[in-house]
């Protein structure tokens, strides 16, 4: 066991397979004890466990929403609305991923708050930059028109 490997792969634990097997057995025992301690076998003392059906339902919803966005994108001419429809569907998907796959719906509210604040700052960043760029749009368009007329 070299000194470099400690934190990275082996966690400073010995090489031999016997000790790994022992630890696996310990773990299995531990898992069994836990399921005896609690009536609900899908329980963890530290964090919320997602039920399997919910994981599958989330995945199914994500696939359906992806199909919807592709169908709408290829078959309808929505003009200016297209970007809002696509972003709306993408945001619905993002909400499913963050709230369910990433457990934010069941976590400490602090994590959700941090995430929400980052989105707020993204919106500020996006909003102010676009307002600023929009202020120059007429000049840019005029410059373009001039160049193409020459």
């Amino acid at each position: 066991m070299g000194p470099l490997c400690g934190p990275c792969l082996d966690g400073g634990i010995t090489d031999d397979i016997a000790s790994v097997k022992e630890r696996s057995a310990q773990w299995t025992l531990r898992a069994e004890t836990m399921s005896h301690d609690h009536h609900d076998e899908h329980h963890n003392e530290i964090a919320h466990v997602m039920p399997l059906w919910m994981l599958f339902a989330t995945f199914a919803a994500l696939v359906v929403l992806t199909c919807v966005t592709v169908f709408v994108g290829l078959n309808f001419e929505l003009g200016a609305w297209e970007i809002w429809v696509s972003l709306g569907i993408a945001t619905a998907k993002a909400a499913l991923v963050t709230l369910l796959f990433m457990h934010l719906a069941y976590d400490k509210p602090l994590n959700l708050a941090i995430f929400a604040f980052s989105l707020l700052f993204v919106l500020l960043f996006l909003g102010f930059t676009m307002v600023d760029a929009a202020a120059y749009k007429t000049e840019l368009d005029a410059g373009d028109a001039l160049r193409s007329s020459q």
Partner: protein
């Protein structure tokens, strides 16, 4: 790497590392200990998760700069984006989205397995997640290679600042784009070379897996791995230094072999044979997944364009067909448009017929091609240079930066997941101590989240 930042990575936190009872801060139920500066497993987990979220929030803000670039440029030049999605294949983007969503499912499920102490399930699911990540990269490598041969790169790639006009910096190659058949032909060749390299990685990875699993003498393993790495490394070096001429495929094989054997050497030198065996298996599996991804992408292209439109048949008989069909008029268009004549030779390109009205009545499928060109149709009909918007180079600059940065995150995810896989196999995680699995999972979901926005913004909206 995100995962190395979790507090559990410190050696003190490892269960069984410190003898029980020696550490005054530990507890004594015989199931390992949390880090000494925490009061409980739960506190350690919550702190680690908070730290991970702080990192992820930083990732979101980091990516947001590129989304702002996209938004501002789209607002100023909507005409570029209205046509840009024709250059991207919706079918491939859709396939990749599904692959990534599925890997998100297996990752979330793996976290569940870790929480419940289902070790075999955990190992299997993390393995599937890594496989899907490599599959995604395989499809991506097809897309990039195809664009490379279509000369669709970021603005100024072919012209550069020195040629003068500011326009050259935003324009995709204005002349000499090969026709679709040639593009696909060259893409197939390039991907073939990549696949040879990956086959090398897959086979050598499998061989070294056997060596790591059954050879328990570290010195012997190191000598064998070192010999393979040394020879293949030297061979690749000689090829790239132009010292020894060899076919590209042979060089690719050497590079693939070197990458795997070098990884083997590093991991075997510092870690156990179990860790090494897992890493070799990850190499082997990822290489196969990438081969599968690039191969099925080509098959998907053929499925979309091989059937309904004869013009996408291989160039040899496609050439005869069109020489008869569009004998007159076509070549005039050809010549006046651009100097592509030299490169195209006699082979007429179906893409040409969709722009000009006089050919529409020629045949049924010309009409069809026209129709397809208008709509996105899986977007694979790469429009002719003269139909390309002047500022397309900036769209592709944004496209490559965003998808490239995302792909780098996928690579980092594979590395972090490999770390998780090794520790899962070693039995490090328990229902008390599963933090690292959860945290790497969170990272993986953020990578998926970015793609959820990238896919419609780049591939769909036009």
């Amino acid at each position: 790497m995100s995962a190395t930042a979790v507090p559990e990575a410190s050696p003190e936190s490892e269960p069984d590392h410190a003898p029980h009872g020696d550490d005054p801060h530990g507890h004594d139920d015989g199931h390992g200990e949390w880090a000494h500066h925490f009061d409980s497993w739960k506190q350690q987990f919550d702190a680690g998760k908070l730290g991970m979220w702080a990192f992820l929030v930083q990732e979101i803000l980091f990516f947001s700069g590129l989304f702002v670039a996209y938004a501002v440029y789209r607002m100023l030049h909507p005409e570029v984006f209205e046509e840009a999605d024709q250059f991207l294949s919706t079918a491939h983007g859709f396939l990749n989205t599904l692959v990534l969503l599925f890997s998100s499912l297996t990752m979330a499920w793996a976290v569940r397995a870790a929480m419940l102490g289902q070790q075999k399930m955990l190992v299997t699911l993390v393995g599937i997640t890594i496989f899907c990540a490599a599959l995604f990269l395989g499809v991506k490598s097809y897309e990039y290679t195809e664009k490379w041969h279509a000369k669709l790169l970021w603005g100024g790639t072919y012209l550069g600042r020195s040629t003068g006009s500011p326009a050259s910096l935003i324009t995709v190659d204005p002349v000499g784009t090969p026709d679709m058949d040639t593009i696909i032909e060259r893409t197939t060749v390039s991907l073939g070379i990549m696949e040879v390299s990956l086959w090398g990685a897959a086979l050598v990875g499998a061989g070294l897996f056997v060596l790591a699993k059954f050879g328990t003498v570290r010195t012997t393993d190191l000598l064998a791995g070192g010999a393979i790495a040394g020879l293949s490394g030297l061979g690749s070096l000689l090829y790239f230094a132009d010292a020894v001429p060899m076919p590209a495929a042979a060089a690719a094989l050497l590079v693939g072999t070197f990458m795997v054997s070098f990884t083997f050497l590093c991991v075997r030198a510092f870690c156990s044979e179990i860790a090494t065996a897992v890493v070799c298996l990850v190499w082997s599996g990822s290489a196969i997944a990438m081969i599968l991804g690039s191969w099925s992408s080509l098959a998907l292209h053929d499925a979309i364009h091989g059937g309904h439109d004869e013009s996408h048949a291989p160039a040899d008989h496609g050439g005869e067909h069109h020489a008869d069909d569009h004998a007159d008029g076509h070549h005039d268009d050809h010549a006046e448009g651009h100097h592509a004549e030299d490169e195209h030779g006699e082979v007429a390109h179906a893409g040409e017929s969709h722009g000009d009205g006089d050919h529409a009545e020629d045949t049924g499928h010309a009409e069809e091609a026209h129709h397809d060109g208008e709509h996105a149709e899986g977007g694979h009909e790469i429009p002719e240079p003269d139909k390309r918007n002047l500022r397309l180079g900036i769209f592709f600059g944004i496209y490559y930066t965003m998808t490239g940065l995302h792909a780098i995150h996928i690579l980092a995810g594979i590395a972090a997941l490999t770390w998780i896989l090794v520790r899962s196999v070693l039995g490090h995680f328990t229902p008390d101590h599963f933090g690292p699995v959860d945290f790497v999972g969170l990272y993986w979901h953020i990578v998926d989240l970015v793609w959820i926005y990238l896919f419609p913004l780049l591939y769909l909206i036009g």
